[in-house]
């Protein structure tokens, strides 16, 4: 059976407020509550609420033939509970249909998989627990690491936690002549299946959909169906992985993105031999064709599909190393505020804002950054981290 597998990433970071040097040692609230709330509300109106309503409608309409999967970061779940209970309710309704799969990830949408196995396991467990709490005991079977960051070793770590499968980028430089449209296995532990993003078709929807200078503009369901029909018959699964905010937020409603999605299931089901599956169904039905070797971590970001959006320049490496230098102190500490801030400070977005790759992918970076420059982002983050460190030392030495 040939199938399309939709996975949508749902994430919002806790953005830092402007935090000055003079605040260090004095102000211990780091989060920009106003902008976090207003962004959450804005995206709820533009994306989460209308898209959830549409998906619910489609699932009912096709009576189980249309299905999707979500991965929601813990920091998103926290903000949804605080600022958008209506969105939470609509997600709960979707999950209750049984045609929606939820994936696990790190609670803080962090890069911790690159740094510490122990801390990684801990944050994943925290996420599982949260999903169970919010979704009536639902326990995810498939894992997706932050930003689809994956390597052989990260895969082995995920396998150790008992997951059936993980998702990552179908990066050209790891695939070579191979196609992303098959299921692979981790090269260390073949029990872990690996689903690879078809970035061509995914990005046609996620990035290029509303781009009027794109040669294939406008993207219609006709065109899309033609493209997937042209995929060789023996290729089994097309993984369409993208940010959920694609719908209505990155691609505005005016681009016609909602209409495209409204008509896609019918076009696919009536005119192709493709069906829709969730990642767990793919794992159950597809045959793994072989191991995929990823010795060096890959991600779904930028042209390079590597880690350089978050790590690699001096600003990022300094902030990242100084953050994780505190890991053992945080472990000793029982303070709940410290524990919460520790999670929120690890969110990958903070490091993304410090990226200095202005010339190739700078555009998309500056679109998502609340700062004027990577330098501002760095200064603000380090000020906050300095205060966090002072608090941490105070609490741990007081004991």
């Amino acid at each position: 059976m040939r199938t399309i597998c939709f996975y949508f990433q749902v994430h919002q970071p806790f953005r830092l407020k402007p935090y000055r040097f003079f605040d260090i040692g004095d102000d211990h609230h780091y989060w920009d509550d106003f902008s976090n709330k207003s962004i959450m509300r804005k995206v709820a109106q533009k994306c989460y609420l209308p898209m959830n309503a549409l998906l619910l409608e489609l699932i009912h309409k096709y009576n189980g033939a249309f299905k999707v999967s979500f991965s929601m970061s813990g920091v998103f779940l926290d903000q949804m509970q605080a600022y958008a209970p209506d969105v939470l309710e609509s997600f709960q309704k979707l999950v209750a249909t049984g045609n929606v799969e939820l994936l696990d990830e790190t609670y803080g949408h962090s890069l911790v998989a690159l740094k510490s196995k122990e801390a990684f396991k801990e944050t994943v467990a925290k996420h599982t627990k949260k999903i169970q709490e919010l979704f009536n005991g639902y326990t995810p079977k498939v894992f997706r690491n932050t930003e689809l960051i994956y390597s052989d070793e990260i895969g082995a770590m995920i396998a150790e936690l008992g997951y059936d499968a993980t998702l990552t980028e179908g990066a050209k430089h790891i695939l070579g002549w191979k196609s992303p449209n098959y299921m692979y296995t981790n090269s260390i532990d073949p029990n872990l299946k690996v689903l690879l993003k078809n970035f061509q078709l995914s990005d046609d929807i996620a990035f290029r959909f509303g781009n009027k200078t794109w040669a294939d503009y406008p993207l219609t369901t006709d065109k899309f169906v033609k493209w997937i029909s042209a995929v060789p018959q023996e290729e089994e699964v097309i993984n369409l992985f993208m940010d959920y905010e694609t719908f209505g937020e990155h691609q505005w409603a005016e681009t016609g993105i909602f209409d495209f999605m409204r008509h896609l299931p019918d076009a696919v089901l009536s005119r192709t031999n493709f069906r829709f599956s969730t990642p767990s169904e793919v794992v159950a039905n597809a045959k793994a064709v072989g191991k995929i070797h990823v010795p060096i971590p890959i991600s779904w970001a930028d042209e390079e599909r590597d880690l350089t959006a978050w790590l690699g320049n001096d600003l990022q490496d300094e902030a990242f190393d100084k953050l994780y230098a505190l890991e053992s102190l945080v472990k000793e500490c029982k303070d709940s505020d410290i524990k919460r801030d520790w999670v929120y400070l690890q969110t990958s977005d903070h490091f993304y804002y410090m990226c200095t790759k202005f010339f190739s992918d700078g555009d998309i970076h500056s679109y998502f950054s609340p700062y004027d420059s990577p330098y501002d982002a760095f200064i603000n983050y380090m000020n906050v981290l300095s205060d966090f460190k002072l608090r941490l030392k105070e609490i741990t030495t007081a004991k």
Binding site: F22, N313, D314, K322, S373, I379, M382, N383
Partner: protein
């Protein structure tokens, strides 16, 4: 004695140190009962009425005066669309950079209107304003014949001073607060240099704010030493500032406060900080200010992996400046070239011991400070460490530094200036 003085700005509307120095000097002159006609491109109306202020924007030019044409001829070299960086603050610098990319047009037309509205800033039409200011200076000198001597502050008003001298025949004093070499290092802006040089050579006498500046004038502008007097700056208020701010971090704080540009030597502060932190991690370094080298400094601090102990505050104003001085345990001014440099004296007023570079004019008047070569990061680190750890020396600096400050009065500077005037007038007559 009555002095026709040309400035560029006057408190409270200032964006550089020039306005503050002019204010102090005028105040000192008033103390000695000297009459001052003080001309600025733009008056705001809320200046302290200590002088006979003339607003250049109010002056109507009478083009029947033949001499004006010849003055204009000598000024045509100002009509350059060059990239100028005088005393720009960070925001103005940005605006100016934006402007410099485009070209300027129609300079002649507005300059030769009978009236002209100056901005009085260091903005995009700076050269145009300097030219127009010169014509205005000539008109004022023709209208007011009741002055004995002309005094022009820095290159912006030198053309006005020269023009006033040509019209009136009265002697000219050129006051140098900073030279193009201080501002730009060796990559001097030629048109600005030319104006500075013309002003210095047209002047009957020159006042320099330090021996250091005097040396620059001799060496770089070819002026004979006997034509230059050193007039150090002073402080308006030497009282100790008792701050209510409390430090909220347990570590000691070492501060750099100023524009983050070549002239101020920020990179030496960064390198010295690394050396100190290697020996004592319980210190925080703060670089307060903005400038074209800011991002390079941030990169370097990250590269040295000390960003959790080295902080950047951005541009500080008002209370934040006092706050910063107040919580500092050591203040460092590593300037590569500083004609005078008033900020260490502010630090002393906050009871903060200071380290200053030998390449600063203020080093000539402040004994109770540690003086190092700007490039000597080892000495800078040693001195910082010593002031943080050896109570005796920092205590001594605090006590004696404030005593020294009391001696730096504008009345003394003004008295010296009156003598300079008298000597000029004596040799003229």
């Amino acid at each position: 004695m009555k002095v026709l003085m040309f400035g560029w700005e006057f408190p409270p509307h200032i964006s550089g140190g020039l306005g503050t120095a002019c204010y102090g000097l005028v105040k000192g002159m008033v103390h000695h009962n000297q009459e001052i006609i003080f001309v600025v491109p733009k008056l705001w109306g809320d200046e302290e009425p200590m002088a006979d202020f003339v607003n250049a924007s109010d002056i109507t030019i009478d083009y029947k005066e033949k001499k004006f044409k010849s003055i204009w001829k000598n000024l045509t070299y100002l009509e350059v669309s060059s990239f100028l960086v005088p005393y720009l603050g960070p925001e103005e610098y940005q605006k100016f950079t934006d402007y410099a990319i485009h070209d300027r047009t129609d300079v002649d037309e507005s300059i030769f209107s009978s009236k002209y509205e100056f901005s009085g800033k260091y903005g995009k039409n700076l050269m145009e304003e300097v030219s127009r200011y010169a014509i205005t200076g000539a008109q004022i000198a023709r209208d007011r014949s009741d002055f004995d001597i002309i005094h022009a502050h820095d290159w912006l008003s030198f053309p006005a001073g020269i023009a006033a001298k040509e019209i009136s025949g009265k002697p000219l004093v050129a006051h140098v607060h900073a030279t193009e070499y201080d501002r730009s290092g060796d990559s001097v802006n030629k048109p600005v240099y030319d104006i500075e040089r013309a002003g210095m050579h047209a002047a009957d006498h020159i006042c320099a704010v330090s021996q250091l500046t005097k040396n620059t004038i001799i060496k770089k502008y070819g002026v004979p030493a006997h034509k230059i007097s050193v007039l150090h700056n002073a402080v308006l208020d030497a009282s100790i500032i008792k701050s209510t701010y409390n430090k909220r971090v347990p570590e000691k704080i070492v501060t750099f406060l100023g524009r983050i540009t070549f002239q101020k030597g920020p990179e030496y502060f960064v390198e010295a900080a690394k050396k100190v932190l290697e020996r004592d991690p319980n210190v925080r370094f703060v670089m307060a200010g903005n400038g074209d080298l800011l991002n390079r400094m941030i990169d370097r601090v990250a590269e040295l992996r000390m960003a959790d102990k080295f902080h950047f505050t951005g541009f500080l104003k008002g209370d934040d400046v006092d706050h910063m001085y107040a919580i500092s345990d050591v203040y460092v001014m590593p300037s590569v070239s500083e004609p005078f440099g008033i900020s260490p004296l502010e630090a002393v007023r906050h009871n903060t011991p200071v380290i200053i570079s030998k390449q600063s004019g203020v080093a000539e008047v402040l004994d109770n400070a540690i003086k190092v070569d700007f490039w000597d990061i080892d000495a800078m680190a040693d001195a910082t460490f010593a002031l943080l750890h050896y109570e005796g020396i920092s205590k001594m600096f605090k006590e004696l530094g404030t005593e020294e400050l009391k001696k730096l009065k504008w009345e003394h500077v003004a008295a010296k200036l009156v003598t300079v005037y008298q000597n000029i007038l004596a040799t003229k007559s």
